[in-house]
């Protein structure tokens, strides 16, 4: 039933029901399940909710998915290399507040403010990666610690409340009625598309990306195959932190001002997008899948809210959905196979 069985025991991959096997094979190459879910959900929306097909709704979904998808980009990279990043929310908030404060309150130039935000991302990601690799501390705890440290420092820096206002041009980037070079597509969606293509290419077509998979799938084998596992691991965490910081910068435009808690919802949502997309811990998946995961979650969110369901009910359905999806494609090995 699961592709996991093929990993646990390579020789049984051909067994079972042929049709199921073929479907599994397809699912491995193409995120069929997720595509179907997305199409079904969208069609369901079209048929039950008036105005669901309008451009306004579509763009709302896309803007929402863009931000979620970008937040999930770093998480995808870290999960692929075999780690987990619980500091994404903090980096989003940090990027957000830094831009708003430096530009809005201290009147820095945008370039300088962005540079500072990115530098914070690099340093924070470095700390995440080095501590978890060098000292073999669980990434979960390290990233929680870095998360607390960073958000604490940001909080202190602005003395508890963000006063800054984001530069106006940032707001235009994330407006659902925004235009890109005169074309009627919200700029943030275009940015997401570009980032998705770049990350997708890096993951599948560059040595850095390949090393990420090799390390995530089988660290001892990667080491034996002369991959510099330590660098790969650390760069993955830096990439994650920097991407999260960028999301924070974009969110400053979305919300118009700095907000120290703006990243919080993304702590678990970024992970949910990755998991729904079908990227699993240790080298299975890619960024395209996370893109789909973000789209599915955004459509679900809009459907549920359009159906007058509370955000609470949305959460419950989302949680159950993730569980079902994961249950279909990937679970742990049996205990008896490990003796």
């Amino acid at each position: 039933m699961t592709t996991e069985s093929a990993v646990a025991d390579p020789t049984t991959g051909g067994g079972g029901v042929p049709l199921l096997h073929t479907l599994n094979e397809w699912q491995r190459r193409v995120p069929l399940l997720q595509l179907l879910a997305l199409a079904a959900l969208y069609i369901y929306g079209l048929s039950t909710i008036e105005g669901f097909g309008s451009q306004r709704v579509l763009y709302a979904i896309l803007v929402n998915a863009s931000l979620l998808g970008l937040a999930g980009a770093g998480q995808t990279i870290v999960v692929l290399v075999g780690g987990i990043d619980f500091s994404i929310a903090a980096f989003i908030s940090a990027g957000n507040v830094i831009i708003a404060e430096l530009c809005g309150t201290d009147h820095w130039s945008t370039g300088a403010a962005v540079a500072v935000a990115l530098a914070v991302g690099v340093v924070g990601g470095l700390v995440n990666g080095v501590l978890s690799y060098r000292f073999k501390v669980e990434p979960l705890i390290v990233t929680l610690g870095v998360s607390a440290l960073l958000s604490g420092l940001v909080l202190k820096w602005i003395n508890g409340s963000a006063t800054g206002v984001a530069p106006a041009w940032l707001g235009k980037l994330t407006a659902a009625n925004g235009t890109t070079f005169g074309i009627g597509i919200p700029p943030v969606v275009v940015i997401w598309a570009v980032v998705a293509i770049v990350i997708g290419l890096v993951l599948t077509r560059t040595r850095a990306g390949r090393n990420l998979y090799l390390t995530g799938v089988n660290q001892p084998a990667a080491r034996l195959a002369l991959v510099r596992v330590n660098r790969t691991w650390i760069y993955a965490y830096i990439a994650s932190a920097v991407l999260a910081t960028c999301v924070g910068i974009l969110l400053a435009g979305y919300s118009g001002s700095g907000n120290v808690t703006i990243g919080d919802p993304y702590l678990f949502q970024s992970l949910a997008a990755v998991i729904v997309g079908g990227t699993m811990f240790g080298g299975r998946g890619d960024y395209w899948r996370t893109v789909l995961g973000a789209l599915v979650l955004s459509v679900v969110a809009l459907l549920l809210s359009a159906n007058q369901l509370s955000s609470a009910a949305q959460d419950m359905i989302t949680g159950g959905l993730i569980l079902v999806v994961v249950g279909l494609y990937g679970r742990e090995r049996r205990l008896r196979d490990r003796i």
Binding site: F135, I141, L323, V326, I339
Partner: protein
């Protein structure tokens, strides 16, 4: 150097010693700066404000001890759900007796914990994934039950829990209950089985230990403790607190790690988590006392957590190398 070696030895044998020493030091500093802190009359209030975090940390411990990547990140939402169920459902409907409220809360907690345990031990979901979903679902449920306006309410015994029953601080009951349950369980083979499964599940399995049963019991116990934490939180704030769930999840896990419990499973203790929580609580309090803005507290506890886990890793890695 001798002092360092001694410290290494101590931490090697008693991983919670670091959190213990830290908590003790902070307690002394707190008391020196603010003598009233330890005044007898102040105990009840101090303990009551400490209780939710303390019990949440203990609630996170059994899942982590059970190994296999075990962790329960749904503890935060679960305890806020319990809190909300009391204020929004039970009290307004006249169900105020502790003999109704407490069993209901504990049963909800244990049942949700058992579901998490079954997802992990029977259906073989990764613990992070399973409890993340539980986190989202329970969080949603909590917001749902809470409704649009934050409900509030209290009854005499919950006030006493936040205050005192006669001379006894009420929070001693909420903090003491998990310890007492743990003590009672350690009179059965369960606690030892839990450590064995967490330490090496393949060995435990080959020796005939019922590994899934132990793991399900561990997650259920965590859920039960989360029920107690929810009662402690409710009696402290007397209102719904759906927004506080993420904070408790993360602080509780941090307290467990600070308390010397290994996220790899099989090493650590409930006492360590309690001491770790005390460390975090006392730091917050200290920063309050010396009027360093509370804004520092998050950053400082983050730094402390990183420091503690790195020190712990260096010490245990050195020790394991020496053994091997």
């Amino acid at each position: 150097m001798n002092a360092l070696d001694f410290l290494r030895g101590l931490l090697g044998k008693r991983p919670y010693a670091f959190a213990g020493l830290l908590a003790l030091l902070l307690l002394v500093v707190n008391t020196a700066l603010q003598p009233a802190f330890l005044a007898f009359g102040n105990w009840a209030a101090v303990l009551a404000s400490f209780a939710p975090l303390a019990v949440a940390a203990m609630a996170s411990t059994p899942a982590i001890l059970s190994g296999g990547g075990g962790i329960d990140i749904s503890i935060g939402p679960l305890l806020t759900l319990i809190d909300i169920v009391i204020v929004a459902n039970l009290l307004p409907n006249g169900l105020t007796s502790p003999f109704v409220v407490i069993p209901v809360c504990l049963a909800i907690g244990a049942a949700i914990g058992a579901v998490n345990g079954a997802l992990v031990a029977v259906l073989r979901f990764q613990p992070v994934v399973a409890t993340l979903c539980a986190n989202i679902v329970i969080g949603g449920l909590a917001t749902q039950v809470q409704g649009d306006t934050v409900p509030s309410g209290s009854t005499s015994w919950t006030k006493d829990l936040a205050g005192s029953f006669g001379p006894v601080p009420g929070a001693l009951l909420t903090i003491g209950a998990p310890l007492l349950i743990w003590w009672a369980l350690s009179r059965t083979p369960f606690v030892k089985a839990l450590y064995a499964v967490g330490g090496d599940d393949a060995t435990a399995f080959s020796a005939g230990v019922n590994v899934p049963k132990v793991r399900i019991a561990a997650y259920s116990l965590g859920g039960l403790y989360a029920g107690i934490a929810g009662i402690a939180l409710m009696s402290l704030i007397s209102e719904g607190a759906a927004s506080m769930s993420a904070q408790y999840t993360l602080l509780a896990i941090a307290a467990v790690a600070l308390g010397g419990t290994s996220l790899a499973g099989g090493r650590g203790s409930l006492l360590g988590s309690l001491l770790g929580a005390a460390g975090i609580y006392l730091i917050n309090n200290l920063l309050n006392v010396v009027r360093v803005s509370t804004l520092w507290s998050t950053a400082i506890y983050g730094a402390m957590l990183l420091f503690a886990v790195v020190v712990g890793a260096v010490l245990t890695n050195a020790r394991r190398r020496a053994v091997a």
